[in-house]
Structure formats: C-alpha cells, structure tokens
C-alpha cells in the first residue's frame, strides 16, 4: 500500500540567517527536491516564510507605503522555473509571474476568498487600505517574532496537475528530482507610495525581506508491488509568457507561439511607465489609458472599440470582430465606462471555463474603464482592478489547437490617441508532455 510523508526543504543557496531580499543582492532562491524513490504531490507544494517591509525611518505605523492587495505575497515572485535536478533541463518556466497571477487570481477567487483564506495564506485583501493597514504596516512585521507569515501555492502547470510527479532517477521512471527556482521581484515593483510620489521619504529606501523561507510538500511512496516503467510520459497544462508593447489606436500583436496544443490565451495591460516605478503600482491591471494632456493630470481611458484574434492570419476561434458598445455612433455609448461583456466573458473563459467558474471577484466596479492616474487606478474596490483580454480555444476536448507552425495574432482598436506606451503581457495556456527516460527529460510542447 502507498503511503504519504511530509517534507520541508530549505533554500540551497542561502545562508543560515534565513533572510532574503532583492535589495541585498540575492534575488534568486533555489530549492532542491532531491532525487528519491517517491512521488511529489504537486498540489501540496507550498512556499512558506515570513514577509517584512522596511523603510528608511523606524516605524511603519501610518506609513503610506503600499503593495498590491490583489496579489499579496505573490507579488514578490518575478519568475518561477522548475528544472530537473539531475539534468538541469527546464521543465517549466513562467516569467512575469505576478502579472500572470494578477489575471488568474481575481478571476478564480471571490471577494470572500480574498478576505478569508487567501488573505491568511498569501497576505491579500479585499481592499487596499485593509491590506496596507494589516500587512505593510503590521506592527509586528519587524518585531521579535511572527509578523506576516505566509504559505502559498505556486500555481503552474506542473504543480497544478492531478498526477503525482515521479522524483526517481532518470532511468528509473522519474524526472531525477526537481530544482525549483524563484526569482524575486525588485522592490520598486512590489512596494509603492500610495500618493504617487516616487521619491518621498516613505518610498525611496523601502524594501522587503523574506525570512525562514522553505518549501513544504507531501510525497508519496508508491506501493512496492507496482512496477514503475523506466521511461514514461507526464502530461500537464502549462503557462507560457510573452511580452510586447503597443502605442497606437490599432494594436496589432503577433507571436510565434511554437506550441502545439493551445487551450487558451489571456493577457493584461499596464502603462509601461508604471512598471518598476516606486510611485506607481507596477502590478495593477487596467485597460489602455492615454497620457495626460496639460494642464489636466487626467490619464483618460482608451476604450476598446474592436477586438479580434487570429490564427495564421485568419480570425479564429471567433470568426467575427467583437465590435464593442463603445464603437457605437451614439455618443452616450461611446463614452460608456463599462467594457463590452464579450470582452470580459472571453477573458474569463480563457482562464477558467466560464460554465465552471463558481467563484470570481469580477464585478462592474473593478472592470470598468478608468483613468490611469494612481489616485484612480490604485483605489479600486472588490480586490483591485481586473482588466484583460483573452480567448479560449478549446473548452470541450481539452486537446487544444495547434499553433506550432502558425502565428497567433490579436488586433485591438482602441482610443489610444496620445503617446503613452502600453505594456502587454500575454500568457498562453497549453497542454505539454514531459517525457523522461534514462536519456534525461524532454518537454513536448
């Protein structure tokens, strides 16, 4: 009979002080889940530790420092890489991890989740002031004990899969152990000043620190009577990330995905100048916005007029343009602040099959078109801004659509009439196969 055990793995590349921060020049955390005759239960993998915020002056009480209430501790993970420990081959890599999470999390968790169990494990909150007050300014975060403890899952294709991951040696039917690498985000993209100042005393020397970091997980010892084949395959849903920018009324995005079983794509947008800006929330989502035109400081929303997706230059999977409400000739519709329901529905459906979506934070209040200035975009209710575009390719068979030899494309017509570069993060949800044998591991994309 098989049985399970708990393991706790500390970082392999850090000193015993257990303090890790981007500021101190060690932004990479490595965990080795060694080669062993056991299987890793991917869904049980958790990153555990304590989170602290420091600034130049002693106290954080009443501070205007903030971090993303939507992402909480996930905002410190810039990229997640999982390799075979034996061969160092990359099994899965998700860059722009917090950007991916800023789409995934609000779509798949409700307001009550974010105020409750996710707040407990990941330091999120349903409201920005509540998060600032209870996490960033937590009086004990820099104290003798405790503070902001966290214990988060690392959502990715490999760990989200249903099958246990064989940790055995390459020739014994396993991947040869796992090497999990977490690249930390820069302080300037995690912490920001609520008032929009990038040079105030509050923010200029502020940084975060992790301590007592480890990975906990469950492993399963297989039934000894079961023969494990020396070579095998392992199928999982992976996330691939892409990045580009646009700065016109007609945003045309093209990528050669090189993936053969694409289930869906989703992307989110932020004004490029907000990234790594201590006066801005570099992890917020918003629809495109214009630059402010003097003397006004308002960064007007650039409403989407039309949207369609292509495969090899043809409209696919929707064989028509999504002409939004704002494309109307009627002035009152053109100024409507709510994105077309088709955009929102397709975005949700790309992340989780819409008909199975039971809990979500999406509401008219956090998806609406707003200006891009910090006093507006950073104070949205119901867990923060949830904006994005996307489309699902296969919610029926689960086998996906072949983009290995044809280009993926998106055409978006919007009101971006000023010079204001928009960063577009694209995430592709695809089925991949991990093959392992005595020769090592390989990923069939």
């Amino acid at each position: 009979m098989s049985s399970r055990q708990n393991i706790q793995v500390t970082p392999s590349n850090h000193t015993s002080t257990g303090k890790i921060s981007y500021k101190d020049g060690n932004p990479l955390i490595q965990f080795i889940i060694g080669e062993q005759e056991r299987m890793l239960i991917g869904s049980s993998v958790r990153l555990v530790g304590n989170f602290k915020v420091f600034k130049s002056t002693d106290t954080l009480a009443g501070s205007t420092l903030r971090m993303s209430e939507q992402l909480g501790i996930w905002s410190v993970i810039d990229s997640l890489t999982i390799k075979s420990q034996a061969t160092q081959q990359v099994i899965e890599e998700i860059r722009h991890y917090p950007r991916m999470m800023s789409s995934y999390l609000p779509v798949t968790s409700s307001e009550q989740d974010n105020a409750g169990h996710i707040a407990e494990s990941a330091l999120t909150s349903v409201n920005y002031v509540n998060q600032q007050h209870s996490v960033v300014s937590n009086p004990s975060s820099n104290g003798a004990k405790g503070g902001n403890s966290f214990c988060i899952a690392l959502p990715c294709g490999l760990f989200n899969g249903q099958n246990p991951i064989p940790l055995m040696a390459n020739g014994a039917g396993g991947v040869g152990g796992l090497l999990v690498e977490i690249q930390l985000s820069p302080d300037s993209n995690v912490l920001f000043e609520a008032g929009g100042s990038s040079s105030s005393v509050e923010i200029k020397d502020a940084f975060y620190q992790l301590s007592n970091v480890s990975i906990s997980a469950e492993v399963e010892t297989p039934d000894p009577s079961i023969q494990i084949p020396a070579a095998s395959t392992f199928e999982y849903n992976s996330i691939s990330s892409y990045f580009t920018t646009f700065n016109s009324t007609n945003a045309i995005v093209n990528f050669n995905l090189g993936l053969s079983r694409v289930l869906g794509v989703f992307g989110n947008i932020i004004t490029a100048s907000k990234i790594n800006n201590r006066g801005e929330n570099g992890l917020t989502n918003n629809y495109p916005v214009n630059a402010s035109v003097s003397p006004s400081s308002e960064q007007k929303a650039a409403r989407i007029q039309q949207l369609f997706f292509t495969r090899g230059g043809e409209r696919f999977p929707l064989e028509y343009n999504i002409d939004t409400l704002q494309k109307s000739n009627v002035a009152v519709d053109a100024d409507n602040n709510f994105p077309d329901a088709q955009i929102t529905l397709n975005y949700l459906n790309a992340i989780t099959q819409f008909s199975k979506l039971r809990r979500t934070s999406i509401s008219p209040l956090n998806t609406q078109y707003t200006g891009g200035e910090p006093s507006v975009v950073n104070v949205k209710v119901d867990g923060g801004s949830v904006a994005g575009v996307g489309v699902a390719y296969d919610v029926i068979s689960g086998q996906g659509v072949d983009f290995s030899s044809v280009n993926w494309g998106m055409n978006m017509e919007c009101d971006l009439t000023t010079d204001n570069v928009q960063a577009f993060y694209l995430f592709v949800h695809s089925k991949q196969t991990l093959a392992f044998s005595a020769d090592g591991v390989s990923v069939v994309r």
């Binding site: 169990h117 407990e120 004990s140 104290g143 507006v376």
Partner: protein, 534 residues
C-alpha cells in the same frame, strides 16, 4: 500411442489453464470484496452489479445519484421527544423507510424577563451551543457519539462559506460568521471626496445582513444582533439542527430504518443553562448567573423518511441482508493548561499530550484551546480556539506575534519533519487535513495584522480576543497521511504554546481539546446493527 498421449497432455494442459483462469478470477473477485478498506466503495460496486440485467436495485443508502428513474416518496413525521428535561432529551425513530440525513431537530429557548437577562446565541455556533453531547444509538449500541459537540461544531462551522452563513445558516441554525469590508461611508460623516468615501475599507467586520452604523474611521462602527437570535422578555430564539451535523457519517450514508429491527434513538445532552448556552451584551455580561432554559414544548424532530417502490426496497433488503459500511467517528481527549495572571504570562514549555488512538486507524486529529474565563461575556461564548498573545506596542524589537510550535508523533515518527511554527503553514495543514478552506479572516486565525474592525457587536469589540472574533479560530488539524494503524503507544501531540493572554488578574486555565477522527465499521445483519473499530 504417443500421439494419443500428446493429445491427452494437451487436453489436460488446456483444462488446467481454464481451471486456473477460473480460480484466478474468483480470487480477484474475492479480494476486491474482502480487502477493500472502504466498505462504501464495496457498496458502490454492488450497485453497479445491481444494474446488470436481472438485478436492478441501486444502492439506496449511499448518498449520491441513483442511476434510475425512480420516484421517491418522502414522508415527514414530527416526533416529540420520548424523554425531555433541561439537560437531556431522547428521540426514537420509527423503523420505516430510509432516514433522510438532513432531517432536523428543532430547539427553542425560553423567554427571559428583565432587561438584564437579555442574551443572544453565540455567533460561531448558533443554536448548537445547547448541545454538549449527542449520540446515535441502535438498540443498546452507540453508533456515533461526539463529546463537547458545541466545541466540535465551532470547528466545523468555519468551513461554511460566508455566503452560506449569511443567507442560510443565519435563519436555520443561528450561525452567522460572515464578513464584509466596512467601507468608510455613513450618514453621520459624509465628508471628503466621493472617491475616498466609496473605496476605503480599513477593516473587515461581521456581516449579518443589517446595515453597519459606522463613521469615517470605523472605530465606532456598531452591529447588533438580529432580533430572532436574541433571548428577551418577548422572544426566545428557535432554530434547527441537522442530524448530519450531529452525526457526520450521515453526510455519506443514510440509515435504512426499514431494515433495522432494533429501536434507533438520538440522545442529546444539553449544556448548562447558566454560562454555557448564550452570550450577553457588555452591559449585562456581568450577570453570569442568568439561566437560559430550553422551551421543552417546542423541541421536536422533523424526520424525513424516503420510500422507493416497494419491490425495489424489498429486493434491496434481500440483496443486502448483510450490509456493512465504514464511517468516521470522533473521540475527544482534553486537558487543562494553567495560565499565569495577566501581565506575567509565560510560555507553557513543551507539552506532550497523549491523545489516544492506540490500535486504531486514525485519519485526522483536530486540536483547539479555549479560554475558560471567556464565556457569556463574549460574542463566541467558550466555543473558540484561542491563539497566542501578541504585543503590538512598545519598541519595534519588543513587538511580536506569539508562536505555537507543534508536531504530532505516532508509531515512533513525527508527522512533520520539522516542528511547525509558521502560523500560515499551520493554516495550510488545517486545509489539507479537512480538504476544504475555512472562511475566516487572517486576524481571526493567527492574530496577525489589524484587519478586523474595533467596532462592536452587542458592545463587544470585534477586534478583542476575549470578547470578539480575533485570535479565536486558531484551530489545528493534522492529516495522518501515512496509512498506518496507530501502535500501542498512541498519538502524542507536541505543543509549545508561546504565551496565552490572560484576561484576569488571577491565574486562569485554558482547556485543550483534541478530536481524533477514527474509522469504524457498521454492520447490519438480519436487521441487527453491530459496530466496531476498523
């Protein structure tokens, strides 16, 4: 001659092969029945077999979809208790049909005259606060029993979603632990920009469906109990308890009463009328001698019996003359922990508590500590799980959130390779053990941050650990995942409590409760129920 011998040999070999194939399949069939640890799966496989031609009887007692278009008749009986006092009551079912697991027991409290006698049901457990122990008996055998049930249900109630608590449980059982952000808006202080007024919510607080009277800084936000949860001179709250909450195995199985020859009874042992049933507002909380008695004229069991077509039930009874199923039962172990007077509290040091389970299959251990001095003068009553003391004032180096260091040892090995001190990881272990997430706020679990409103509920500040919500849901749960039977030494719980806060200036006690989830087997043979440990 030699050709004939070869033919005979081949024939013998052929018959040997056939013989071994038949033996093999019989062994496989036998093993699939006799070695399955999950008898309910066994029953499921029976039902599949029953779908074969000539055997069309689905599994009627297993909760789930029945693969047939069968009309079900439901008959509801309202049963009065056969014995009833203010401390005990007993119901006896009629042995007919199949008992629906969501049958309800209705309980009501008497009115109390005098404004200083006003009380309300605890926020976390509602009417369940009345039940100290419940047991289900068949004949003279106890099938399921939970001691300190009101504490156990405090743990289970955490896993009800906020939506369910607010929209259903508030009206069914009086449980009402739902939250919402308290936005900075209100009629008494309408100032500032619209933007600020509509988006800032510094705190979370209770959401019982009523408007929150609050101002800009939320400090004075007040919520009062809904009238139907209150005991006063005109009204005593009446709510219902589901029998599947009382006996959790009924979530998976239903009792085929029509096949049982012995009397089936439910016994409820009530908590003390003084100091254990209700909470009181801060004005009256000093009147701890107020008795909240049960209105015995209202107590009844609303039993739903299901009937399938008669021939189907008869066939089912014939095919399952020897029926068995496994189920989870809970055993309580408790001890007290001394706490020094307020201001001189100290760590308990490592406490090793043997919680039993020797020789048993134990799948889970649930553990909680309650403060014996926090009863009527709080909004959760004594049905809470207290966490460690925190210090949020003074110098930065003096501030701290207390830690619990915990592990559990059985069969000479610890469950966790390193003792767990990180409270978020303890929360994760709780989730893993239960397979569900609790819907409680962060400060309510591990007392970290200041996210719960200082606003009051019946005068009790919600962010006060003795009176309110915070630091009162620090439940621990351990999933014993090694698939091992516990040896004769039993389970040893290793806990180091890094300082509990004492409300009083004199030494106090806490009570630690540990519930063991054990696997038991019930067997119904020729109408006689038997039960034993797996």
């Amino acid at each position: 001659m030699s050709d004939n011998l070869i033919i005979i040999k081949i024939s013998l070999s052929f018959f040997k092969i056939i013989f071994f194939i038949i033996i093999y399949f019989n062994i496989i069939k036998y093993m699939s029945y006799s070695t399955s640890s999950d008898q309910s799966q066994m029953m499921a496989s029976d039902s599949k077999a029953a779908q074969a031609p000539g055997a069309t009887v689905p599994d009627l007692v297993r909760i789930g979809q029945i693969p047939t278009n069968t009309a079900i008749d439901i008959e509801t009986d309202v049963l009065d208790p056969v014995v009833h006092s203010d401390t005990f009551c007993r119901f006896q079912f009629q042995n007919k049909g199949i008992l629906h697991s969501n049958s309800k027991i209705v309980l009501r409290l008497n009115t109390n005259s005098g404004t200083d006698k006003v009380g309300f049901l605890p926020v976390g457990v509602g009417i369940h606060s009345l039940i100290e122990r419940c047991s289900l008996r068949v004949g003279t055998k106890t099938i399921s029993e939970i001691d300190d049930f009101n504490h156990y249900i405090g743990y289970k109630s955490m896993f009800l979603s906020n939506e369910q608590q607010k929209q259903r449980e508030l009206f069914i059982s009086g449980r009402r632990l739902a939250h919402k952000p308290y936005y900075n808006e209100g009629g008494t202080d309408w100032s500032g920009s619209d933007n600020t007024l509509q988006t800032e919510a510094k705190f979370l607080g209770l959401d019982n469906g009523a408007a929150v009277d609050c101002e800009r800084d939320e400090a004075t936000a007040t919520v009062d109990v809904r009238n139907f949860c209150e005991v006063n001179d005109k009204f005593g709250p009446e709510f219902a308890v589901s029998i599947q909450d009382l006996f959790p195995f009924l979530y998976q199985n239903q009792l085929p009463l029509f096949m049982m020859k012995e009397p089936v009874t439910i016994e409820l042992f009530f908590s003390k009328a003084v100091g254990e049933r209700c909470c009181m507002n801060t004005v009256n909380a000093g009147s701890n001698d107020t008795a909240f008695t049960i209105d015995q004229s209202a107590t009844e069991l609303v039993a739903d019996y299901q009937y399938f077509p008669q021939e189907m039930m008869e066939q089912y009874a014939q095919q399952n003359a020897d029926l068995s199923f496994t189920f989870m039962d809970y055993r309580l172990a408790k001890r007290s922990i001394a706490v020094s007077a307020s201001g001189s509290e100290a760590s308990t040091g490592q406490l090793i508590m043997n919680v039993g389970g020797a020789g048993r299959l134990v799948t889970k251990v649930i553990s909680a500590v309650s403060d014996d001095s926090d009863k009527t003068n709080s909004m959760l009553q004594n049905y809470h799980a207290r966490g460690m003391k925190r210090i949020y004032s003074g110098t930065e180096s003096a501030r701290r959130n207390g830690e619990l260091t915990t592990n559990i040892k059985y069969n000479d090995h610890f469950l966790y390779p390193v003792d767990v001190t990180n409270s978020a990881q303890q929360f994760h272990n709780l989730v893993q053990a239960e397979g569900m997430v609790p819907f409680i706020a962060r400060e309510e679990y591990n007392f970290e941050g200041q996210g719960i409103t200082p606003g009051t509920y019946e005068g009790h500040p919600q962010n006060n650990q003795h009176q309110g919500l915070v630091n009162n849901f620090f439940y621990q749960a351990y999933k014993l995942n090694r698939n091992e039977r516990i040896n004769s030494r039993g389970l040893e719980l290793y806990n180091t409590y890094d300082m509990f806060a004492n409300r009083t200036d004199s030494p106090n006690t806490m009570t630690q409760r540990s519930y063991l989830e054990l696997i038991r087997v019930a067997q119904l043979r020729d109408g006689i129920m038997d039960v034993f440990f797996a």
